[in-house]
Symmetry: C2
Subunit: 444 residues, 2 copies
């Protein structure tokens, strides 16, 4: 017996940046892993506990969001058409002064609901009150790598609290939840704090998720203030001794990229192109980054800059943005965009052996995408349609860790009405910016 049989799907396969689509294949799932992928008809449907008929649908790995602040969905649309300093100082860090632990529980659920609807099955989330976020992930049935954000201004005590959080949740929910240390950034964490975070991560066998060199201006400011780039600061503080997710890294110098390329511990860059355009904070050259062997994953960032958690859009903007930036339409090809969205995001997320590919033995995080909509027709190229035509609304069914969590767009784990009923009464308080003491000041 198998637990789940997906029949007659097209199956996206990516190897060495080449994309292939297997027509009319069956995927069998046993427990939380893919058991086999075989031509349609090989497996008798009566041998499966659950059967999903997926004709005219495409099976691909669930998206992995390598950098987000999911509960910020609560504030989407409230910080518009402003530059980054104002965005932080006049909006975000005032709004976040109002954040209560239960807000994170419900905000996280709302964001997970949106991500499930868009086919995102895993998220590296960097935020506050992460026990509450973890409980939301447990309930949603998705996968997450959770980091409790830290500013050094809030004291060294946070490091042990965060280490305790990591021990509490790492490996939780059948391994769906992993936990990580999450110092905010070199401009909000002093060197002693970064050093202590790195030492603790090493001691407890965890990694680090941090914002570094977000913009060229940050790198310039760091060079002026202390003669080192943010990447050099992070290196000196021992951050790169452990597996690291680096958010943004658009201000890296050529020397910084060499540092990253030479590291022994895995390092990956989370790329969030919609935020970069929306906040006008520049763009990095991923062709150069990837040529050095540095992994790039897709990220949404928070929904107050994005303003969604849609990785179809992030994939599309990654391809479009690099073509535009480099002035060469042959750059960031369709197979490369799909590789970044799948294998390579899994590498940044730290589970490249288990996620990001549909193959026997891998964890069963699978989404089924309907390519019969008018906007795909005629379907001359499945892979082109995935990168340039597919909308989040084309995702029909979502499976995470072997469990069907959305079927034909019906949620099987989270309850939208319950979530929204719990969020609506919070919004009057949460929208307030007056009188709040900012939780931090942006002055990198």
């Amino acid at each position: 017996m198998v637990d789940l049989l997906i029949r007659k799907a097209s199956v996206l396969q990516l190897r060495d940046e080449r994309a292939e689509v297997l027509a009319e294949h069956d995927l069998a799932v046993k427990g939380n892993r893919i058991e086999s992928i075989t031509p349609n008809g090989t497996i008798d449907p009566s041998r499966a506990r659950t059967v999903i008929e997926a004709e005219s649908q495409l099976a691909m790995p669930g998206f992995i969001n390598t950098h987000a602040h999911v509960p910020m969905v609560l504030w989407r649309g409230l910080a518009e058409d402003v530059n980054i300093a104002s965005w932080f100082n006049d909006y975000i860090w005032k709004l976040e002064a109002n954040l209560a632990p239960e807000d994170v529980y419900w905000g996280m659920q709302l964001g997970l609901l949106e991500m499930i609807e868009a086919g995102v099955t895993a998220v590296a989330d960097h935020y506050w009150h992460m026990d509450y976020a973890a409980r939301a992930v447990e309930k949603a049935g998705t996968r997450a790598l959770l980091g409790q954000a830290m500013f050094s201004a809030n004291g060294m005590g946070q490091i042990e609290e965060t280490a305790a959080f990591v021990r509490r949740w790492d490996g939780g929910a059948n391994g769906r939840i992993r936990a990580i240390m999450a110092p905010h950034a070199p401009y909000t964490c002093d060197d002693d704090f970064l050093r202590a975070s790195a030492r603790t991560a090493e001691r407890i066998g965890s990694g680090i998720h941090i914002h570094v060199a977000e913009t060229r201006a940050q790198t310039q400011a760091s060079l002026q203030k202390r003669g080192q780039t943010p990447i050099e600061v992070a290196l000196d503080c021992g951050i790169f001794a452990v597996p690291t997710i680096l958010a943004h890294v658009k201000g890296a110098t050529p020397g910084d990229l060499e540092i990253l390329a030479d590291l022994e511990a895995p390092v990956g860059i989370a790329h969030c192109p919609k935020t970069y355009a929306k906040l006008a904070t520049g763009l990095n050259n991923l062709v150069e980054v990837r040529a050095l062997g540095i992994a790039v994953g897709l990220g949404s960032d928070g929904a107050v800059s994005n303003n969604t958690l849609d990785l179809w859009e992030a994939m599309r903007l990654t391809a479009l943005g690099q073509k535009q930036l480099t002035g060469d339409a042959a750059n960031l090809t369709i197979p490369q965009a799909l590789t970044i969205a799948t294998n390579e995001s899994a590498r940044v997320y730290g589970q490249q052996d288990e996620l990001g590919n549909l193959a026997a033995g891998k964890l069963a995080d699978i989404i089924l995408v309907d390519l019969s909509g008018t906007h795909h027709l005629p379907l001359n190229s499945v892979t082109a349609s995935l990168v340039y035509n597919t909308r989040a609304s084309d995702v029909r069914t979502v499976i995470c860790d072997g469990r069907v969590i959305m079927r034909e767009r019906e949620h099987l784990t989270l309850d939208k009405d319950e979530i929204y009923a719990n969020i609506a009464p919070r919004m009057e308080r949460l929208r307030r910016r007056e009188g709040a003491d900012n939780i931090q000041t942006y002055n990198p």
Copy 2:
């Protein structure tokens, strides 16, 4: 009696680049025009022939696509990851050698189907066999401004044929169809041909839809070959004596923009940002263009570069692209993006007094958009959600010229199955590139 009553909708209003949303209003439509917009409850539903309950939906003007080659949807996904010269010479102008008149009839219907689903009610289309396109528009119930594309290599005879086409169709389908002269570009039409096109347009009271200064490289090539920019060539040939839609104009010099700003006849630029990024052909500064009083409209361009006809995406990329280009997130604000998508696209399209605004007396081209999806929640800002969160799939109902043409996503004019059944058997021939004589060579 009124013919149509839309009840309890939010109604988007744009005036002088300010956006306002009227809550719970009723829109009454009589014939093909908006009769009134009043607070909910003012009009007795029993006085209306058709009633649409639109609670939690937003009413806004249908999108106007100011530059497209709609039947090219037939080839979407077939010319990927290539630069513009190869895109034209190795793909498009080989593929188009296979184009038959009936292909245009069915391809146009497929593209109109996609646009209706995305809330696009009007299109300025520039293509071949346009009598067939016009018949598709008649059937679809949408609005179009149709131009029969011309290369001078195909002879002067085209000009009279096109003039006859304009006379045949301009004002057709209850005024839904208008027609325009459409010389392809200064690099594919010699000066005599452009001059004759302009004179004919003036004589028959028509306008001109043309590609001009698509890239900086085209402007440089024109300056080297003949000492004039493409805009100067067009001016000298009399093109700007009539109302003109200029596609792209990313290669305009400051002097070119002054020429355009000083014209007496209306001129507008069709902006197609997804094509620009995808083909890596650069981006123009719309902040400067608009500061000169030159109107900018949204365009999809053809689906072999786009790869869709989705103007939600075009609006979003317009805002994101300008913020990124100018390095200032305060540029191209939400109200400006919505203004470009509505009022200003109507101006480029040449019907600014009748389209692009919901108000009594205007033509009733109205779309109803559902903002209750998870990706909009909490709905802190309707206007931010329209620009940054809305997907084509959020469009529920589409009204054009007072007639409901899609209701709750059900098509009332076109038949998807019939269209696709007619397209599928054509595709083997249409995909062929081997052996075809290119219809043109890209060598600007």
